[in-house]
């Protein structure tokens, strides 16, 4: 599939090719063997066909077994009926042989039903579980190919719900559909048996079925708003509790305990109100539905009993009839469920495909080259870039010599961070060229480029893995000594050794157990470990203590000697590390020179340095769970409540 990440890369220089893509984990499962059909004009089911086709044999076996099991299930009541029919004769006239044969037959049949019932169920579940796993892997494989601009646009919660509940909906449909279809088929067989015994009795037996069906549909219509509102209010209660636990200090600080209690009481009262309403509705409908089915049995016994008295029907057939009545209720209920599930799966598939149809915006050109040991000479020529309609960089020109340390200074919004992002090709310059060692970065493989250009952002994202794994993120195979050396250079070693488990301490959820400065130090260590020839520090020491910052600077000075370094900074102490300053204003280079030169010659420079009231906020660079909207937050909590409910019933097959 063209959209799937293949892992293979074109290489022009095969000699001593370094491993640009570090892997330090052993695959234990196969990659999905097929992708969804990329043709967007096809309907949702047809687009899933390639995935179904690679599983066609397991699927066919599962369906065949299910049909066979269904046939066995339908046969059982008929045989039991026949046994009861021949029982009187067997007792009074001693015709044991036929009776016992039937008993033995029933035994064999039920044994078969047991084995095939187990196999069919298991087989279909396995196939659908495999499909689910394949879909999950396919989406993930696709997600890592997408560009920064995609992640700027989307909300994490949205993607997760697509990759989770939507896939689950598809899986449920693919598993349940064959099972339900065969159950519905069983209706045909059961009805055929019943009709063969007596037509009017069949009609009498079936008369309650549509009534039950209609009542169920009506009930569902009434219940849906109630259960939806119940979930909404459950989520409201959970939100209040969650905030009062996490924000308890604020609640106490402002003596708001009573108000919060009343807030909760109101939410809990609303929840109680809607739940009482649900109870009122179900206490009317449930007994009706349960007992109407039994009315069908009463009808069969009265009318059937009369037929037996008339000699038209045998007693055993009556017993079988009653068993079929129970069996027939199921297909009727399933029919509605199946349609509903199909609707859900269709909508879900649409949302999943929306992700899979997303094309990566920045891809390798055909015939890329690989730089093995770049010197780090950078050149921006006539570079233009805009976010949407807002021009950021206009005809930007500058060059940085290999091994040089340059600070880029400018007000917020002047395009400093954009330069860093264009350099790594996280975004594509609209016009103009950027070169490393005189090679256009668009001619380099993306992985090759990322391997050589290291970036440290001001708010470094840490993963909830150990500190050691966080530092080794770019080089998972690094040795412990290398990791410690990087941590020492970033002045992180000391505080790491003071944490509970040292380098094995798992960074708390989203890194918040560490202070901002500590996180920045880990971010620096992470980049230093990779040791790239070009390093960009984007305001990377902004939250670090003055004393510690100067120690890091000492370490950086040593390290910078061997590489090209771009510093994006507000602090003078950071700027003073650079050999040269590039002053950026409104997307253009205003001046370049040493700090002293610019201070003396360019009045705008000191103006910008003293510019404290920077009104524009830098756009967020991390996708943050804090960013989810109220609606999403409530939705997530409601989803949790829903899932919890589902899990407890899943364990209960009865």
């Amino acid at each position: 599939m063209s959209t799937t990440y293949s892992g293979a890369e074109p290489v022009t220089n095969t000699a001593e090719q370094p491993n640009f893509e570090p892997v330090n984990v052993t695959p234990r499962f196969d990659n999905p063997r097929a992708n969804v059909d990329p043709d967007q004009s096809k309907n949702w089911f047809m687009r899933l066909v390639p995935i179904l086709l690679v599983n066609k044999w397991p699927f066919t076996i599962g369906i065949s077994l299910t049909i066979f099991t269904m046939l066995l299930s339908v046969a059982l009541p008929a045989i039991i009926g026949e046994i009861i029919n021949v029982l009187p004769a067997a007792v009074t006239e001693g015709e044991q042989e036929y009776f016992l044969t039937l008993i033995a037959g029933l035994g064999v049949l039920s044994l078969f039903r047991f084995v095939f019932g187990f196999l069919s169920n298991y087989q279909l579940s396995r196939v659908s579980n495999q499909l689910e796993a394949d879909l999950r892997s396919t989406i993930y494989n696709h997600l890592v190919t997408l560009s920064f601009s995609f992640y700027d646009r989307i909300q994490t919660g949205q993607v997760i719900s697509r990759a989770n509940s939507d896939i689950k909906a598809i899986q449920m449909f693919l598993m349940m559909a064959p099972m339900m279809l065969t159950t519905i088929m069983s209706f045909v067989f059961a009805a055929a048996y019943m009709l063969s015994v007596n037509v009017t009795l069949t009609l009498a037996a079936l008369i309650t079925t549509p009534i039950v069906y209609m009542i169920s549909i009506k009930l569902r219509k009434i219940m849906f708003p109630l259960s939806w509102l119940t979930q909404a209010h459950q989520a409201d209660v959970a939100v209040i509790v969650d905030e009062n636990i996490n924000g308890q200090r604020i609640v106490k600080s402002f003596a708001q305990e009573k108000n919060q209690l009343n807030l909760l009481a109101k939410a809990a009262k609303k929840l109680q109100w809607v739940q009482v309403r649900s109870i009122d509705v179900s206490s009317i409908y449930n007994p009706v539905i349960e007992n109407i089915t039994v009315i069908g049995q009463v009808l069969v016994w009265v009318y059937g009993g009369w037929l037996v008295i008339q000699g038209e029907v045998e007693l055993g057939s009556l017993v079988a009839f009653n068993m079929y009545i129970m069996m027939i209720q199921m297909p009727f209920r399933f029919l509605g469920m199946l349609l509903q599930m199909e609707q859900r799966a269709k909508a879900s598939a649409g949302r999943v495909f929306e992700i899979l149809d997303e094309k990566p915006e920045i891809v390798d050109r055909p015939g890329t080259v690989a730089l093995l040991h770049p010197e780090g000479h950078l050149q921006f020529s006539n570079v233009n870039f805009a976010y949407g309609d807002e021009p950021i960089l206009q005809d930007l020109n500058f060059s940085i010599a290999a091994g040089e340390t340059v600070a880029i200074v400018g007000r917020t919004g002047s395009g400093k961070s954009t330069i860093a992002r264009l350099l790594s090709r996280f975004y594509e310059a609209e016009t103009g060229t950027i070169t490393i060692d005189n090679v256009d970065i668009r001619d380099l493989g993306l992985k090759n480029l990322h391997y050589h250009v290291g970036q440290v952002l001001d708010e470094p994202f840490l993963f909830s893995i150990s500190i050691r794994d966080n530092i080794a993120y770019g080089r998972p195979e690094a040795s412990m000594d290398e990791i410690i050396a990087a941590a020492k250079a970033a002045q992180a070693h000391k505080f790491i050794t003071h944490t509970a488990k040292g380098y094995d301490t798992v960074v708390g959820e989203r890194g918040y157990t560490l202070s901002g400065g500590q996180r920045q130090r880990l971010g620096i260590a992470r980049a230093l470990l990779v040791n790239p020839p070009v390093l960009v520090l984007d305001d990377a020491t902004s939250a670090i203590d003055v004393k510690v910052e100067s120690a890091i600077h000492d370490a950086l000075v040593n390290l910078m000697a061997h590489r090209t370094t771009i510093l994006i900074a507000h602090r003078l102490s950071t700027i003073s590390l650079a050999e040269r300053v590039i002053l950026l204003d409104e997307g253009k280079v205003l001046a370049t020179g040493t700090h002293q030169e610019l201070l003396a010659q360019v009045p705008r420079y000191s103006e910008i340095l003293s510019q404290q009231d920077l009104s524009e906020v830098e756009e967020a660079t991390e996708t943050d769970i804090e960013d989810e909207s109220d609606g999403e937050y409530r939705g997530r909590i409601a989803e949790q409540i829903r899932l919890k409910g589902k899990d407890t019933t899943e364990g209960d097959p009865s």
Binding site: A235, Q275, H450, S654
Partner: protein, 642 residues
Amino acid sequence: MMGGWHGHGGGKGKNDGLPFAGIPPEVREQTNALMAKEPDFSDLKLTFEHRAPDEASFGLMNFLAPYKYRMFGALLLVGITEMLLLMGPYLVKVAIDDAIIPKDFTVLLWVALIWVASLFIAALVSGFRQRYVGRLGQLLVYELRIRVFAHFQRLSLDFFTEEKAGRLMSRMTSDIEALSNLLQTGLVNLVAQTLSLIFIIGILMSFNVDLTLILLVISAPIMLVMTVWFKSVSGKAYENVRNRIAEVLSDLQESLSGMRLVISFNRMKHNIIKHRNTVGDYRDANNFTAKISSLYSSGTMFVDVATTIIILTVGYFILLDVNPTLDPNGAFTVGALVAFTNLVARFFKPISQLVNLYNQFQSGNAAVIKLRDLLNTPPSVEEKPDAVDINDMQGDIKLQNVSFAYDSSEKVLKDVSLHIAAGESISFVGPTGAGKSTLAKLIARFYDPTSGQILIDNIDVKDISIESLHRQLGVVPQEPFLFHGTIKENIRFSRPEATDEDIVAACQAVGIIDMIDRLPLGLDTPCHERGSSLSAGERQLLALARAFLSRPRVLILDEATSNVDQQSESKIERALDTLLEGRTAIIIAHRLATAMRADIIAVINHQGIMEIGTHEELLALEGYYADMYQTWMIQNEGTVLV
């Protein structure tokens, strides 16, 4: 192409005033109608006391005690329903033996009439019972929610720092739900199923003793063992599935949040393999549950049919033995045999139900224990019964020989004495872990000192009612906590009765009004909406506005500027000038620029207060502070910060 991104399931909640998305369009009208009917409960006013009411220790029995007659009534109704429901199979026997075989249609009609009547009564009784028990259960759950939540509010801060938030959350959600399930369905079902089992065995015995014994000795134990096996294995298996999917989702979540790093560190291949491994483990866990549940569901059906086979065979031989002429009035009849086979399925139902109930009972019981432990936890900061309100706090703070240790570990503060005059501001500087924050928390009475005394306006804080103390105190912590709601709601939090003008004034005071005005929704901007997402500095300014609005007499800033960028910091510093005016303030800061704003600076280290005095006095002292200042000056040489 991305137009559909936000249209999740038809209509995003905020567009039609609903709290979250997911309503299919065809039922939206009904949902809105229902919401229109919902009462507002705005006149609901609960009181809150910092002292826990003198209640007996929480337990199932004393929780239910006030409702014992209602519970008893419910159980009576259950007994009646179960008896009525068993009329059916008995009537089948009567129909076969007394009507069909003797060919008497009148009896058949009577049987039908009685059957229908019994169904009708059963439906009425069971409907009434469901309503009765359900409403009672909801009332109990509501009361329990209030009780637990009120206790949360009473508990001290140390409780919240020691317990994981998720654990506390589950007290209010899943534990109360487990208990509510036990109350509403568990106890009733326990009685219902037990009665039903007894009735069924009674009826079967009346048909034939030997056949009943066979059922009890052979089939029942097999079913019981199978169900118990399945419950224990599947419990673990589903737990495993839940853990596995949690891993898959957290891996996905982290990958998405950190995707920019994944791309820039070329981790795609590594992460793909890692994700595939977690997905594969999840699949295997799913396959295992599929295996055992397929085995169980097929197995129960098999036991059902096999039991029918045994009954038919043995029943046949019994008939041969005791009633070879098939006399409908004989000791064992065809009707009884048919009724017997009919009752087999009904006989197994209570068995598996009772096993389920055992699990439900266990989790309900565990919930009771957890809730009891919670409700029995006393707040470590307790209000004295005769605590006084101080309504006009001046803000004169005295610490006399205060020592403090978390738990019984090493003392964080040793013998600290300090006087902060009313209206004076003081900043605490010094190395991390020296107890600066602890000192502030003691003054706010989030903790009580291990020894020594803290006096505000010459009254021991322990003698002041917590409500009046906190009302006149404003705290701004390091991580500004914003509630889900609009900017306005978040600021108003500290003083719910504040007018919109008050809020605008507070925003002006901290200098954030310009930023808010630029937002499309202004003060009504949701704090957590993406796109309008606030920077750390802006969030901190909101927290300052919130503190300002409450007009505190004593203001405590606990590292309020340490996590913000330099631009926001200078904004905050300017806001501080307004905030500090005319009130006692305690500022904890590791940035000197912030610390220097206070009238007095205290250097605190592990020994206690090392240096104290004005900025100039401390510089003259040439000690720790002077040294810090020196480093900082060198770093910031030439900047225009000061």
